[in-house]
Structures are given as C-alpha cells and as structure tokens.
C-alpha cells in the first residue's frame, strides 16, 4: 500500500478503514492495480520516479459521503485530491498535485438533477460528462444545447472548474462564466451554497448568479478551497439554423485590420459563433478543420511553396505573399459561424461581409447552411462541438499518419493568453519562436495562430509532446517552464496548466510582490488550516507544506 507523506502505515490503515465505513469497502481503492488507473496518462514524468501519483482513491456517491470523507481526512490530516472524471489530460489528468494524496473520485455522483427547458439551465453533479448530459437531453427531446470541449468525454463541472472552453456561441463558450450557482463541501466538511442558493428553499439558484454580498464562486475554480458537489449552468436554446462562412484575405498586412474587424463584429454580437483564424498560405489550419486534416492530410503544397515557407520570417516574405496572390491561396482565412433563425443569421452574415468588403481582394464563401436540429448520425460531417455535439474525434489528432510520422505519447498544452490584436500575434510568434529555437523546443517552429475561445483575448494552444525518452521529457519540462517565464516578461500568462507547471505559471502572476498568491494563501490558511484539500494545486500550499512552494 502506498502512503501519503508523513502518514504511517498503521495510521493510513485506520484512515482507509474509516473511509470504507463511510462509503463501503468496495469504493476504497488501495491496490496498485486500481490506484494506477489514476496516473496521468500524459505525465511529463513518464518512466521517472518524480511522477505525481496517488496513495489511494475513494469514490463517494453522495454529498453526505463527501462530507464524511473530508471530516475523516481533516481529523487524520490526510491530503485529498478531488477529481470529477479526470479527463483534462493535456492539463494534468487525475494525478494529484501533491504526490501521495488520496484521490476523491466523484464519478459515481453522476446525477442530472434538473434540466429546465423553459429557462435553459441545468443543475448537475460532478460525475456527469458532456456525453452524459448530451444523451440525457437527447433522450428527452429537450430543446437545449450543451457547449462542450473537444473531446467531450470530460466532466461538465470539472471542465468549468478548470476554466475550459467550448465551441458554440460566445455566451456559453466560457464554461466557468456560464455557470450559475455552486454547492461546495468545505475542508472542514461543512456544506456551502453560493449565489441565490444561500437562501434556504431558494427559487432562483440557477437563474441569478451572484446573490447578494461578495460573489465567491471564482475562488473555487483552479483552486483548493473545497469540493464542488453541485453546479448549475446556463444552456443555449436550440437554434433553428447554423451558417458557417469564410472570409479570405490576400495580404500579410491584412492581419491586424482583420482582427479589429472581427473584434467589432463579435463584441457587437453580429457574429457569436466560434471564430476560427487560419492561414492557408502558411499551411496553418483552422481548429475546426484539424481532425479533417488529420484524417485526410493537409492540402498539398508545391515545391516552390514549401521553399518560400522555409525562408519566410514570422510567416512573411514578399515572395510568399506574391506566390499566394498568383496561386489564389489566401494569406488569412477567417471562419465565422452563426446560430439562430435562418433570416437572422443570413442578415448577420451579410453584415459581416459588408464590414470585410473594405479589404482589397476579399472573398467570401458559405461553407455550411444547416437547418437544425441535425440528425446526430450525420454530425460527423461537421466539427461536432460547434453544433453542441460531443465527440472523441479530437483523439485521432496526434495519431501516426504520413503527415505525422512520429506521434507522441501525449502532450502538455502551452496556452498563453495574448491581446486580441494582429500585432500581438506577430509579437508572440517572434518572442516564442526565438525562445523555442534556443531551448530546442518543438513549439512555434512555424508561424502559429491563436484561438478565439473567448472574446477580447487570444489564446495560443500548442502541444509540447511527451516522449518515451526521459532525457527529452526533462528538456521539454525545463523548456516549458522557461517559455512560461518568458511569456510573463512580456505580460502574457497561461490560462491553465498541469500540476507540474502550476508553480511556474503562478510565479508569473507576481504583481506587487505576489500579492495575489499571498492573498490566496491567507484564504487557504483560514479555510483549510490542516491543509488537506489538494495541497499545491495552482501553487496554493497550506501553511504546513508551504516550503514546497519554493
């Protein structure tokens, strides 16, 4: 039996026995074969002793059982690490931030408590996956959509608490922002409800977010202040139709004005669907086409095109631009999508074209006009998540293909947030490509484009591979940390990261001598004085383990 740090085998045996009394013997796992299932499938410590691992796991089925587990852990000072389904593989999986913690596996808590179709919201438990919620809605023929990430196998609550994003419309793509009301088991075992849920017999828990007084929901995301056992979300009423079109532009200098135009259209809600920026001339696909590229291969390039790309700087050379014009290959291609009544979205598409008509040589093309709902069996003709349909196709990305001859064993996402400007795209490429070359990191080796999950900012999402070779993995880990620091020097920060990098990321958020981190530690000491809840998650260490921060 593995042990939590500082806990003797006899003490831990007593804890396990208490857990077994609380949830039933069959729901406490201590054998290596069972505990190994909580290892991080994409751990950057593959085959290394430093890999973060659990000592045991316990799977409660009710909030009352969660409370009892927490009380036991608090009495015995045993660290816990709650997971919903543990599927954020590129950001850390189900392995704890503090090796030896006991994983609290919440996937037995898989109840959809309410789907309110009339007012488009849901209340559910952490074990409900996007697939579960989608099928629950489909089986009842409810006219609401989910917004899911890619792939859609994870927990709705888990993804929101990790502040993940999706692909439908702007109101719903930010999964934490679209939540309304939480129930949390605090580190002392007490139960807390936020927002209107703090009113006994509340009637509007999922209908008004903030309640009255300080709105504290945010401190339970990317943190270690409690275990969320229920959470409400706003859903999107099923739209009548979907339209997707492209705007193709020919000049490198169009990038900045293109982004400005997109920002206006999005902030004015003329377009609300997931905007997707590609560069056909640079061979950079839109996110929504990645799986198609993976399945069928990228568009072929001539020798001349490849040669010009190899000599371009920051995705540009006059010769490359001339080649694009001559060959009819757009420099930039913006994919816009619209959801709503057919007449409305046609008008929105027309308005978008009017705004882009000022660009010399702009071309417009409708890719899809879809009457909704679609037949789920035909959803794979599209990028499913943009139509609110969960998929696992993203997992074919990274498989061995002629155009990806050396697939990795996994990946770590490098995900800095940068300003929503064309200049920021180019500056980030300049900074990170120079650094990656010096560090021999396989990122930004060709011109890269960010994603538009959220309004008003860009996010680069680039994979650093996990390999079979520990020496390579070590080099990548160290390089990854340096890239984080370099980003911080330019005012850019990661939005989310795996436990092994959380200290490096939070070190970047250092304004006024790390005032944010000190505030978080003050909260931690008050809320969790015994330091049992996910020690070290997002670099928030309890007082008794604070030396680990450095």
């Amino acid at each position: 039996m593995r042990l939590p740090p500082g806990v003797s085998s006899s003490e831990f045996a007593a804890v396990v026995a208490e857990f077994e009394r609380a949830v039933g013997k069959q729901w406490v796992f201590t054998r290596d074969e069972d505990v190994d299932l909580y290892r991080d499938a994409f751990s950057p410590f593959l085959h290394e002793a430093e890999e973060l691992v659990a000592s045991a796991a316990v799977a409660p089925s009710t909030t009352l059982e969660v409370q009892e587990i927490v009380r036991i852990a608090n009495r015995r000072k045993v660290p816990l690490y709650p997971i919903s389904t543990g599927k954020n593989l590129g950001y850390g999986g189900s392995a704890p931030a503090y090796s030896g913690s006991v994983v609290v596996d919440l996937k037995r808590m898989n109840r959809v408590i309410e789907v309110n179709e009339a007012n488009a919201f849901v209340l559910l438990e952490p074990g409900v996956s996007y697939f579960d919620l989608y099928h629950h809605i489909q089986e009842r023929k409810l006219k609401v959509w989910i917004d899911c990430p890619d792939p859609g196998w994870g927990s709705v609550i888990g993804n929101a608490l990790d502040r993940g994003g999706g692909y439908t419309t702007a109101n719903y793509r930010n999964h934490f922002d679209s939540h309304c009301g939480m129930e949390i088991v605090l580190p002392n075992g007490e139960l807390l409800r936020t927002g209107m849920g703090a009113i006994p017999n509340a009637k509007t828990w999922q209908q008004y977010k903030s309640g009255c007084g300080p709105w504290i929901d945010g401190i339970f995301s990317q943190s270690n202040f409690g275990i969320v056992t229920k959470m409400g979300f706003w859903l999107m009423p099923e739209p009548e139709a979907y339209l997707r079109g492209t705007v193709s532009l020919t000049r490198y200098a169009d990038l900045g004005p293109m982004v400005e135009t997109l920002n206006y259209l999005e902030n004015a809600r003329i377009t609300a669907g997931f905007p997707d920026i590609a560069s056909p001339l640079n061979g950079y696909p839109p996110i929504g086409q990645l799986q198609v590229w993976n399945e069928t291969g990228p568009p072929s390039q001539t020798d001349e095109h490849r040669k010009l790309l190899s000599s371009a700087k920051l995705g540009y050379s006059p010769e490359l631009e001339a080649y694009g014009v001559k060959s009819g290959i757009p420099y930039w291609q913006l994919w816009l999508s619209f959801h709503g009544p057919a007449g409305v979205i046609e008008a929105q598409w027309q308005a978008a074209q009017r705004h882009f008509a000022k660009f010399e040589g702009a071309k417009f093309r409708v890719i899809d006009r879809v009457k909704l709902p679609i037949d789920p069996a035909k959803a794979d003709q599209y990028h499913e998540p943009e139509l609110g349909v969960p998929s696992l196709r993203a997992f074919s990305i990274g498989a061995r293909t002629p155009w990806n001859p050396t697939p990795s064993k996994g990946h770590m996402w490098f995900s800095p947030i940068v300003p929503r400007t064309g200049e920021a795209i180019i500056e980030a490429n300049r900074v990170f490509s120079e650094a990656a070359r010096e560090l021999d990191m396989p990122l930004f080796r060709s011109f890269s484009l960010p994603a538009c999950f959220w309004e008003r900012c860009f996010i680069f999402i680039l994979a650093t591979p996990v390999t079979e070779d520990p020496a390579t993995n070590k080099r990548y880990r160290e390089g990854f940390k340096k890239l984080i620091a370099i980003g911080g020097q330019h005012g850019w920060g990661e939005y989310r990261t795996a436990p092994v990098f959380q200290k490096s990321v939070m070190d970047v958020y250092s304004f006024n001598d790390h005032a944010l981190q000190r505030f978080q530690e003050t909260l931690k000491d008050a809320i969790d004085p015994n330091g049992i809840m996910s020690p070290g998650r997002y670099a928030i260490w309890p007082k008794r383990l604070r030396e680990r921060r450095s």
């Binding site: 069959q26 729901w27 796992f29 290596d32 074969e33 069972d34 299932l37 499938a41 089925s61 009710t62 389904t85 543990g86 599927k87 593989l89 996937k107 037995r108 898989n110 109840r111 959809v112 408590i113 559910l124 074990g127 409900v128 996956s129 697939f131 579960d132 919620l133 099928h135 629950h136 792939p151 196998w153 399945e295 789920p376 069996a377 794979d380 499913e384 969960p390 998929s391 696992l392 196709r393 997992f395 074919s396 990274g398 498989a399 061995r400 001859p405 697939p407």
Partner: protein, 203 residues
C-alpha cells in the same frame, strides 16, 4: 470493487430519489459473472485502415459467439455513443480489439469511468528491417498462451481466438517482449491488441 455493483447502486439511487443518474441506468437484470471463467466478450473492435487489423477483424468474426465485430477508422465516437456507453453502464461489455495506440488510449480512459481496465495489452511495433516486436502485458498464464502465436506468420488472425479465451486477469500484469521476423504488412503504425474487461470479476 466491482463495476456491476457500481451500476446497480447508481440505478437504485436513481429510482429511489428525485434525480436520474445520467451516466448509468440499468436496462436489465445482469447475469452474474462466473468465477475464474473466460472473458465473456461483447464485441471485437478493429481499425479497418490497417491490414493487420483487418486480418484480425476477419478472424474475429469466426473466433467465437459475440454480438459482433465493429470496424472503425480511428474515431470511436459512434461506437461509444451508440453502443458501448449503454452496455458498459449496464455492467456488461468486455471487448477485445486491434487498433492504434491513440484509439486504445481513448477506450481505456472511457473504460476507467466504468470501473473497467485493460486486462491484456499487446503492442505490435515495427522494428528495423520491417520486422515486428510484440510487447505483451498480461497475467502470466495469458503470456504463456499468447506468446507462441505471435511468432507465426498469421499472428494477427490468431489473436482473436486467443484473446477470447482470456481468463480473469485480476491482479498484477507481467510484461514480455516477443520478437518476430514477420512483417506488419502495409502499415508503419504501431497497432495494439487488447482486452478491456471489468476489474476483478470479468463479466
């Protein structure tokens, strides 16, 4: 722990309370697993893009009585959404297959959600000279039974019957590497053969 008990308890909660378990709702009374019995396979899965996997799939159709074989092309969304999700939630559905490592990773993660695990894993990796190295992780009796088959020319076609005879693998797996001079014809992908079954008692 036992996945069947898990699904039954979820169902009991669902019908006794005001809420519905989204993940697992039983659709019928389960047959109890036979102690130390062979795996009762629900289906074979293979990736039709690869010759070795196609040979596996053709042989699987004759290997033993199952609910059938499923051909995929990397993605398991349809298999999962329309088939395995329901069956795994109901406490059944051990599967065997030959796919890419990525596909198996996907199935393996989904299996964990239903208290199942990979009981047998055989990586078929191309080596220099277009030979194949088979890396086999399984319980010792299964390694002894499967290893000789992997040296033969028709190893891909031999595997379904061997995997279908998999016995309860509960406990530690061992790993063995079996070389072969036989080519993995027509593909440079590392394929993986596997059995996914319930932890503990195999249904």
């Amino acid at each position: 722990m036992n996945r069947r008990k898990f699904c039954l308890s979820s169902f009991a909660t669902a019908i006794s309370g005001a809420v519905v378990g989204a993940g697992c709702v039983r659709v019928g009374e389960p047959a109890l697993p036979a102690a130390s019995a062979s795996v009762q396979l629900y289906k074979f899965v293979y990736d039709r893009r690869y010759p070795a996997a196609r040979a596996f799939g053709i042989a699987a159709a004759y290997a033993r009585s199952t609910s059938g074989t499923v051909a995929i092309a990397g993605d398991v969304t349809a298999l999962w959404s329309r088939d395995l999700k329901r069956v795994w939630c109901a406490g059944d559905g051990a599967i065997a297959g030959m796919t890419t490592a990525r596909t198996l990773l996907c199935l393996e993660q989904l299996a964990h959600d239903h208290w199942m695990r990979v009981a047998i894993r055989i990586e078929h990796a191309g080596a220099e000279g277009h030979e194949v190295a088979h890396r086999l992780s399984a319980a010792a009796p299964m390694i002894a039974r499967i290893s000789p088959l992997l040296a033969g020319a028709d190893w891909a076609a031999q595997l379904p019957a061997a995997l279908a005879a998999c016995e309860d693998p509960d406990g530690a797996c061992l790993t063995a590497v079996i070389g072969s001079t036989r080519p993995l014809a027509g593909a440079d992908e590392t394929l993986v053969s596997f059995v996914i079954a319930a932890r503990g008692g195999i249904a």
